[in-house]
Structure formats: structure tokens, C-alpha cells
Symmetry: C2
Subunit: 258 residues, 2 copies
Amino acid sequence: MSQAFQTAGDVRMACRVGELTGPTTGYAAGYEQANLVIVPKEFAFDFLLFCHRNSRACPLLDVTDIGDPEPKRSTAGADLRTDLPKYRVWRDGRVSDEPTNLRELWRDDLVSFLIGCSFTFEHALLAEGIPVRHLEQGRNVPMFNTGLECQAAGRFAGPLVVSMRPMLPMQALAASKICERFPRSHGGPIHVGDSSAIGIHDITKPDYGDPVDIRPGELPVFWACGVTPQAALMRAKLPFAITHAPGHMFLTDLRSGT
Amino acid sequence: MSQAFQTAGDVRMACRVGELTGPTTGYAAGYEQANLVIVPKEFAFDFLLFCHRNSRACPLLDVTDIGDPEPKRSTAGADLRTDLPKYRVWRDGRVSDEPTNLRELWRDDLVSFLIGCSFTFEHALLAEGIPVRHLEQGRNVPMFNTGLECQAAGRFAGPLVVSMRPMLPMQALAASKICERFPRSHGGPIHVGDSSAIGIHDITKPDYGDPVDIRPGELPVFWACGVTPQAALMRAKLPFAITHAPGHMFLTDLRSGT
């Protein structure tokens, strides 16, 4: 973990000046990391309702006013057009570009949604001696589409996406207790053990991120994941939308676990 | 309290057939009572965002799909056009009518919001021996506009409205603990004691509902109130909106305090 980026503000400034364009896992312990989804105003009600109906996967940290790139309630002074390391631009349900800022793309009809991220509680797991395998292995967290359907809202529907961290059964119990303190970051696990019970057919082949080792005696532990809205965006085939690039999160000024 | 209406379904059916047109306080113990706000689709994003930003006053129990009068997620089979005792129709920010059903008024662009209500936890207070003065005195609960401003969202802004129940200091502590078990019904009190500290100038003159007696040694205890969105609706002056009539709530099938 970098000693250079101790605070959320450090991370945002490094993004703004173009110094940081990589993933944010491990940075700025104690601050809430956030998924970003930006949609035009005409789709904003449906998307907000989707988040409300699926709040375990999509815990809302902040929603901006229409056209305003500043998330005033969570992070005054920040600029969502420049303060993330990398973005994804979606056109008709496909990724068309991965820019490092939105200066040329911003429009006055855009509404931005900041959604909690499980990176937030990984510091707390490590602090209590619970392994975080993808950090150990220098990889992105493995994420899977499940067979569990989200509650649809207007144009938005899709599978619940989960992140997975392998651990021993007793560590899973401790992790569950710790993560319940982080309701804005998906809270406790939604499933432990048999992955086929939630419709995951091959635990070695994540749909997003990287595979990690599961050692003898360990169980896969699953958390609702903020990539869930990206799966819904893909299916909704909006003419235009923007998200963060996976793993390249927005650092809010919200203190975590409080 | 009536023995006739034991379940939420009993109350809804009595409304539907025109048998019940009065307030619902005290009915159907154990079921969540709900405030109703209905707005046209074009204002639905702003209103949903207002609820999200002011969730203590506006805890959302259910939001319907556009044009659908059935709150499927909380109360399958119910009909919001007929299943409340009395409604208010708002035109340009004023109440234009108080009908007992919406059969003639329903439109395909309407979105309905069900918002938690403090009537829900009054059964639990009584069960633990804590007085509920307006029930004792056969009145509607006193409600006040405060000097605390809600977080605005688009067209919606206004004061936080609170309900007030007087009790002894020790009873206020117990009530606080009980009400924290009801987060969908505004949770614990937002203030106890000096009413001028939250901008209420005359505790004997509520802005909504009826005055109740405050006895020697008692303190006023204040809860965020689901009339808050009505105050915002009034100020927003929408061309058309519908709410429940104060005290005439929708009974959901959600079990309370769980």
C-alpha cells in the first residue's frame, strides 16, 4: 500500500493532476471508497429506484443535483469529472472508451450516483488479522454474476453481482461481524460456501476481476458488489452512461465504519 | 381501539368498500402504517431524491412502478386508489379536494411513494407502559414545522416536520430505546426538551393535528414526521399531486419492528 495517499483528498488530487491512473485498492484507510454511475436525467428516476430496491448491492452514499459534478453532501470541493483514476464510457450497453477524465464528455443533464464499495472494509479485515487474498496476491478482487435476480426498476434489471474472498470458516464468522459495521459498504456477506447455491458454476473463473487461490479448508465468502449496477447498465443499453473503471474508485470524504 | 380491524388487510378492505373513512391510529397492531405521496412521473426523480436525502423524515417502505396502483413489494394485492380512508388532492400547492377514493383521478403517469409513520411504534410504547397522550385524549398527534431545513432536491425543499409526544424524562429514555427498533418508522426521537432549540415557538399551537396536555415534570419528545413531504409538496406547488389525509394512513402488510 502506498504511503503517498493517506487521505481521500490525496488520492483525488493525484487523479486530478493525472498522477494516479491505476486501481485504488489499499489507499486512504478509513475513508469510504465509492462506485460511480452517471446517467442522463431521463434515466435517473429508474436508476435511483433500482438502487433503492437493491440497496444491499447499491448502497447510495451521495447523488448529485442534475448537471452538478460536485458531490456536495459527501465530498465538498471534489470534481467527479477529474477525481477518479479511470472511467468507462458506455454507449448502447457497450464500453466505448476508458478515459482518465471527463472534461470533454460532461453534459448539463448528467446525474451522478456514488455507491458504497467493499474496498472500504478490507482495511478493517486486515487490521483484525483476516486475510484478503487478492491483496496478498496483488490482484483485483474476483467478482461473479449470480443466479439471483435484482428487483427490476423501469429499464434496469439484471443479476446480483458478488465479490468473493476465501477464508477459513472461523475467519468468515469474524469477517461477518466486522462487515456488519459497514452497512454503506454492502455490510455482511450474502452467502458462504457452496457457490452453486447462488448460481455460480465455476469459482475459478470470475466474470470480472481476477481469480485468486482458495486454499485447503477455506470457503468462498460472497458480498453484494457495486458492479451490480454495471451489469444492469449493460442490459439496459442506455445510449450514453459513464461509470468508474472496475477497481478505479472515487475516494469520498466520508469516514468508514462510523 | 377497534377490535374490528385486527389486520392490515381488514383495514384496507373496510376502506375499499367505503366502511372506514376516519383516522387509522390504533388499528392493526404489528403492521407498518404508511404516509402516501403520489406525484406525476416528471417530478418522481426529484421526490425520490428528496426522500433519499431526508431519510429520517421520509423512510421509504415502497415505491410503485409508473402508473401501477399496486404496491407489489410491500403489500401485494392492495390498491392505492381505494385502500386508504381519505386522500388529499393538491393542485398548485393547495388542497383542492379530500376524496375517499381515487377511482376518477387515477392517471397512467403517477408514481406512488409509501413512507413510514410513527403510528407504527405507538403500540410498542403502550405495551411497555409509556403513555401516548393523544391516544389517551382521543386526539390526532400534534405536529410542528421546525426551523430545521430539509436537504433540498430539485423542486422539493422545506422544513423538517416533527410529531410530539410528552413524557417523563425516564420514559423518554425508554421510548428512545424502543423506537430505535423501528428505523422504517422514523426511529428514535430527533430532539427532547427545549422546543425553541429546534425553532418551535409555541408548543401549545401545533401546525398540524391537535394540541395535547403536557403535565408537570414532562418533556416534549420530538420525532421526524412523514408530514415533512407534504410541507415540501406545498412549497413546490406542483400542478397535481395526491397524498393521504393527515392521520388517514395506508396499512401495509409489512410487519413492524422486525
